[in-house]
């Protein structure tokens, strides 16, 4: 098999190929490392780790040679730079973390290595995961491998997990870790033609992941197929005593749910997700998705989630409030950047001023304001009450349906710089995804079609807490109906 072909395999196919000894882990890793080396134009990786990859691949080949190996044995993956990786620089794509090199490994990535996966490198993201376009990264934006038909304008890969979505879509890794606080797995997956699942809050340990908003943050995978997402999520999930919000529940074999179909399931369609400014092709795609699920045997039922429109404004209180607390630790004392000053207060103030980018400062200030004396009840407490109402909406809907189908984004990928002038305009990208984080539920985005510009669009399925299996069942039906997602035409590779 030629090296280019190796990068076209899915995780499931590579797993079979490795077991059958059709190729070695080192060949598979090398094919991906070569692809990464020629794809600098995408800026998907902020730190490729070829030496680490080859070392891990060699050890993996040895295990396979002895007939041993884990569930992800030999699978080359990219890791979002929000996950702490032992002895490998981790920055959250912020200047303030400088050359921070963790002396420990995040639980999620440790779980992947324990099952034999191979690390290709660290992936770009919006600074501290704050953004929907990857444009706030200190390392510059990652680029979407997809382009509009007849245009060479650079499009955003979504965010905050933009390096993850770009790398998976461009076949620079077989799957990637990502995190989702308001849509940061599902929105980038949707606009790059990849699959992304944010599991139930508590499914994956948050230990060792750079914290943004602790009551909303959750890790999950971005992959090219629904089955691959099921394989990866199974091996990322675990109960972890080091995270008090980690759920002590059994992790099902998610892959077994793939292919079970939707016969007997009822799928809800929330009328409140029809919003002004939504692209007409998004509405058409949604109707198409409804038809596909119906044809596959699901019952379709309209549901009402009346507090939907309040989720995003409430999120912009809760998330910045928690972020302002979490980011207080970056003070120039224990790690990362320090601006030398004569007194300690100036040292804090100048370090933070120099180390944080504009979007991060904006959110720290919103958070500081809403938590400041006299404003707590009017803002943070109010937003947490609105969260209860959003959760109750879903609880009521799930009395009559098994999953809910919505568009993932209000439109397709936009160009670099197109939305970065107005923070509110950018925030509206998360309008369909943020409700899921506010209620702690699982949500998956599956590629479902193309925009009028021939760029990808996705549909989102929302499930009951700890019922990711239904999402994998229904997600596979959409993937089968939509057909295999195409690989974007390669414009980025440099000749070697």
């Amino acid at each position: 098999m030629s090296p280019t072909k190796l990068t076209d395999l899915t995780i499931a196919e590579a797993r079979d190929g490795l077991r059958a000894k059709s190729f070695s882990v080192q060949e598979l890793a090398k094919a991906h490392l070569d692809a990464i080396e020629t794809a600098a134009a995408l800026n998907a990786y902020v730190l490729p780790t070829p030496e680490r990859a080859l070392e891990m691949a060699k050890a993996s080949d040895a295990r396979l040679g002895k007939g041993e190996g884990g569930a992800l044995e030999g699978i080359p993956l990219g890791i979002k730079d929000l996950f702490c990786t032992k002895d490998v620089r981790t920055t959250a794509c912020s200047h303030i973390l400088g050359e921070f090199t963790p002396t420990y490994e995040s639980t999620v990535s440790a779980n992947l290595w324990a099952e034999g996966a191979v690390m290709l490198g660290k992936l770009n993201n919006d600074e501290f995961a704050m953004g929907s376009s990857n444009e706030t990264s200190f390392f510059g934006p990652a680029i979407n491998p997809w382009r509009r038909e007849g245009s060479d304008a650079k499009l955003v890969p979504g965010g905050s997990s933009g390096g993850s979505s770009s790398a998976v879509a461009a076949h620079l890794c077989m799957g990637a870790t990502a995190t989702d606080t308001g849509g940061s797995i599902r929105q980038p997956a949707a606009i790059t033609g990849t699959v992304g699942i944010k599991p139930t809050y508590g499914r994956c340990s948050r230990w060792g992941i750079v914290a943004f908003a602790s009551s909303l943050d959750q890790a999950g995978p971005i992959t090219r197929t629904v089955r691959d997402a099921a394989i990866m999520l199974k091996n990322m999930s675990s109960y972890d005593p080091k995270d008090t919000t980690s759920a002590d529940v059994p992790v099902p074999d998610f892959e077994a749910a793939v292919g079970q179909g939707v016969k007997g399931l009822t799928i809800g369609i929330p009328k409140e997700y029809r919003v002004p400014g939504m692209a007409p092709e998004v509405e058409a795609l949604w109707q198409q998705g409804i038809a596909w699920l119906k044809d596959a045997g699901a019952e379709i039922k309209e549901v009402s989630l009346p507090h939907t429109k309040y989720a995003l404004p409430a999120y912009y209180i809760v998330a910045p409030a928690e972020a302002s607390s979490n980011l207080a630790r970056y003070d120039g004392v224990r790690y990362g950047l320090r601006e030398p000053c004569a007194d300690v207060t100036s040292m804090y103030e100048n370090t933070r001023e120099a180390g944080f980018g504009a979007e991060v400062k904006r959110r720290i200030l919103i958070g500081t304001y809403v938590l400041s004396a006299g404003y707590y009840d009017a803002y943070y407490l109010k937003a947490q009450k609105v969260r209860t109402l959003i959760k109750q909406d879903f609880d009521q809907a799930f009395e009559g349906v098994d999953a809910i189908l919505t568009p993932t984004t209000p439109g397709p990928a936009f160009a670099i710089g197109e939305k970065s002038g107005d923070p509110l305009d950018m925030y509206l990208n998360d309008i369909f995804t943020v409700t899921v984080n506010m209620a702690g539920l699982p949500g998956i985005s599956v590629p479902a079609g193309s925009s009028s510009e021939c760029t990808p669009l996705g549909l989102q399925l929302i499930g009951r807490a700890f019922d990711e299996e239904t999402l994998f069942r229904a997600g596979q039906v959409i993937e089968d109906a939509a057909g295999p997602s195409a690989k974007p035409a390669d414009w980025w590779s440099e000749a070697k």
């Binding site: 919000t245 912009y316 990362g336 004569a342 007194d343 304001y369 109402l389």
Partner: protein, 95 residues
């Protein structure tokens, strides 16, 4: 709800951010726009609603009160900008 320049400077000082006057001017506009938009939450009467404190019902786990972690001071100071032995060094605080 609009935010004035003095408020921007006050919260920047609370957040330990030495923002410039140009940033303050920009932030005054942006934060006012965001708080105006957030004000739509006032349409909702939440007087009888309990605030969400956890997303999934879960009982807090207890464990034995014993030391399970630690003894790696070298690791803890490894990434610090300035260290003396196992101490973080900062500018003088008390004259």
């Amino acid at each position: 709800m609009s935010v004035d320049r003095a408020t921007v400077h006050r919260i920047a000082s609370l957040a330990r951010l030495a923002i410039t006057e140009e940033e303050a001017e920009q932030l005054e506009k942006e934060l006012s726009g965001i708080f105006d938009w957030v004000a739509q939450l006032d349409e909702l009467d939440t007087s009888a609603v309990e605030p969400m404190t956890r997303v999934a019902a879960m009982t807090m786990r207890l464990r034995k009160d014993e030391v399970t972690d630690g003894f790696y001071a070298d690791d803890i100071v490894k990434n610090a900008p300035k260290v003396d032995d196992h101490y973080f060094v900062v500018p003088k605080i008390i004259e």
